[in-house]
Amino acid sequence: MALDGVDLEVSPSEFITIIGSNGAGKSTLLNTIAGVHLPDSGRVIFNGTDITRLPEYRRTKYMGRVYQDPMMGTASMMSVEENMAMAVLRGQRRGLRRGVNSRLREQFREALAPLDLGLEDRLKQNVGTLSGGQRQALAIVMATISKPALLLLDEHTASLDPKTGRTILELTEEVIRQGNLTTLMVTHNMDQALKLGNRLIMMDAGRIILDVDAEQKSSLTVRDLVEQFELASGKRFVDDSLLLRRREEG
């Protein structure tokens, strides 16, 4: 769980997928960018400003985040519309104005309707009554509704069943495309990492061992990636979900 000399420059509207074996430092990278962890050395620069020491809650103005656990991105004992209202004010001052009003409610309906989950008709329901997939879909809308400069996705489909995971992934792509959002997406799934996005980085032992652009990426296969990994790291790729995948291909 550490980073070792990571040097990563992200340009606007890049959609980077991040892969690597367990403990490669993928989540640590996101946590360092988001301000959950402070780096021992090195800096985090955002739009030319050094934000290395900025507390987490103050840099979220620029960053939307969706976690692996659907429970983490939403407040279960509060209603759908209250969750949305909190997300709309990402990084802004929260005062004594009413959180939800009819204008906002209309905006929420419009944002939720494209999900096709009927959430727009369940605004007053507690989020705790929703399924994991519904909660994750809501979390994505919440992470992106205030148009963050950077979207961080931390294996956000990993804990969903395959079908729901696919739906959420399609939804993610759609939201990113429409908002032209700069995105970092950590995934365990090499297929996903190759198909989505316009840049791919691979990590191992806290370092970036592979960084390919859209053009190179389009010609790569999962096999190539695994080979690249084993070449660069000098060890076998250890990841349960990948073993299966390799057997299928082999």
């Binding site: 987490e56 985040r65 939403t74 004010l89 990402r90 990084g91 929260r94 004594l96 959180g99 507690n126």
Partner: protein
């Protein structure tokens, strides 16, 4: 006798309802088991009693009591958020410290208010009646709903949503840019302000403030909250707050009946503790109970 029980039930139920609302704010809204309550309740009583005894206006004295409670809550919040002391311990430290502070404020262990005019006496003068339990009940029956309306409004404002989210999913609301240290401090401050208000009103109602009047208040508040929640099971915020008030009244009814049935007053805190244990443990045994009744049903069939 029945009338007497009813009157005591409502008089105390409403006066302690503000305590229960305060406990609801810390325990449920913030998910912070705040034991400051045992110190901020007598703090409210002490501040109000000293000022009234010294010839101050009862209204100003009551507001000062609220102010003292707000400060106590801020103190606990700072211990927890800035010094990173665990929530339970922060509350206990503040509670213990407040015991001495309350003694210093009062200058002795108790102050009688029987010979001076309290807020309720003032109200009686205004309406040209004599001070009676009925007057106390009526004035509290106006005050408590006003407090509920203000709380409901506040918990639906943007800052109120952030405070509720702090107890629900702190990581999430931090991720949305709210300073959870601040939301905790605000919530604890309001909670203890309410508790101190309750202490100030109880002292004026019973005619004295005592340095020991806070012992077990956290459990009484908690008992009211969980009785209210389990009896009324409401979802909307205003109804939940009303349920808590209802819980406080039901608790007082329970106490009044128990005392009338001959329970020694000294047993009250033990019985209250057992009551809270029973309600907290109930969900654990619900499964067992259902299995048992299913098994019985099969045997009967």
């Amino acid at each position: 006798m029945l009338l007497n029980i009813t009157s005591i039930t409502f008089e105390q139920g409403l006066a302690y309802a503000l305590l229960a609302l305060g406990v609801y704010l810390s325990f449920r809204t913030l998910d912070f088991p705040d034991l400051t309550v045992d110190g901020s309740f007598p703090l409210g009583g002490a501040v109000a009693a000293v000022l009234i005894f010294g010839g101050g206006s009862p209204l100003v004295a009551t507001l000062a009591a609220v102010g003292a409670g707000l400060l106590a809550g801020i103190g606990t919040g700072l211990l927890n958020t800035k010094l990173r002391i665990n929530p339970l311990l922060s509350g206990i430290l503040m509670m213990i410290g407040l015991y001495s502070i309350n003694l210093v404020i009062m200058g002795r262990a108790n102050i009688s208010l029987l010979r001076v005019d309290t807020l309720f006496d003032n109200l009686a003068h205004v309406f040209g009646v004599s001070t009676s339990p009925t007057l106390v009940i009526l004035s509290l029956a106006v005050l408590v709903p006003i407090v509920i309306i203000i709380l409901t409004w506040f918990l639906h404002t943007n800052i109120g949503l952030a405070i509720r989210a702090t107890g629900d999913n702190a990581q999430m609301i931090r991720g949305l840019g709210a300073d959870t240290d601040k939301t905790k401090i605000i919530g604890l401050s309001m909670s203890n302000g309410l508790v101190a208000l309750s202490g100030a009103l109880v002292a004026q109602d019973q005619g004295f403030a005592d340095v020991g009047m806070g012992i077990g208040m956290i459990i009484i508040g908690l008992a009211s909250v969980i009785i209210g929640e389990s009896l009324f099971r409401r979802k909307a915020m205003s109804w939940i707050l009303l349920s808590v008030v209802g819980g406080s009244i039901v608790y007082r009814l329970f106490v009044a009946v128990a005392l009338r049935l001959g329970m020694p007053p000294g047993m009250l805190k033990l019985i209250t503790a057992l009551l809270v244990i029973a309600v907290l443990a109930a969900p654990r045994f619900r499964g067992t109970w259902e299995r048992l009744s299913r098994w019985k049903g099969r045997n009967h069939a």
